[in-house]
Assembly symmetry: C2
Homo-oligomer: 135 residues x 2
């Protein structure tokens, strides 16, 4: 999308289920073999009681919406803040939602509210992204 | 590590090269098929000139340090801010460095400065993480 096609309030989303295979693959990609993600027995003794999905893997859905939908191709990702509010468990269906909340015309900067909710509509991640467009 | 073993100034790091295979795998994991990451011809016409690695894939190295080294197992990841300062290209060797900058004893909260540098020691990502410990 071009900068001048954007308006405050526009939104877009992507949904995805994260399974054990996804978590194992991400663990290998970034060498994060923390047993809270991979070892069911270890996780059962933690405050989470079950294995959880890496927060930055789930957050990848946010950049997927930004990079492919809103604003989409051509977006230059400048920053992202993330609060991990609730754990994401294996097989949770996560929806990443992105909404334009601020436009700064002189620099073509777009601020987006970015949240992820689970299948029970509980917010699991929230934050903001800043994106620059050249067109 | 236990909370009372931590001191301001402690640091740890992990290093990793991201290749095309890593980028393709992450693209599939989060459905982010933005051509800036995957299509060399498309990328050659962009301001980056070459394909770049997803910012949130690179950032995964930060959570790897936090979850496996400092503070390590038992860390509850509460938040992360990320500024994407420079692009990360395929085959770049990225070092994620994490340093304790603040300790809040009453809640066992740890604030860490989190940066990623490339093989030329240029900062590509910076930000802060907040982690809670129970022990």
């Amino acid at each position: 999308m071009k900068y001048n096609e954007l308006t405050v309030g526009m939104s877009s989303e992507i949904e995805k289920v994260f399974d054990l295979k996804s978590v194992q693959k991400f663990a290998n990609l970034v060498d994060d073999h923390n047993p809270i993600h991979l070892d069911e027995e270890y996780a059962s003794k933690s405050i989470f009681k079950k294995r959880i999905v890496h927060g930055l893997l789930v957050s990848g859905l946010i950049s997927a919406v930004i990079g492919t939908k809103l604003p989409g191709e051509g977006s230059i990702y400048l920053g992202q803040s993330l609060s991990f509010i609730k754990p994401v468990y294996l097989q949770d269906k996560i929806k990443a939602k992105v909404e334009v909340i601020k436009l700064r015309d002189d620099k073509k900067l777009v601020t987006l509210k970015t949240i992820c909710v689970n299948q029970d509509n509980e917010e699991v991640i929230n934050g903001e992204a800043v994106v620059k467009l050249f067109q």
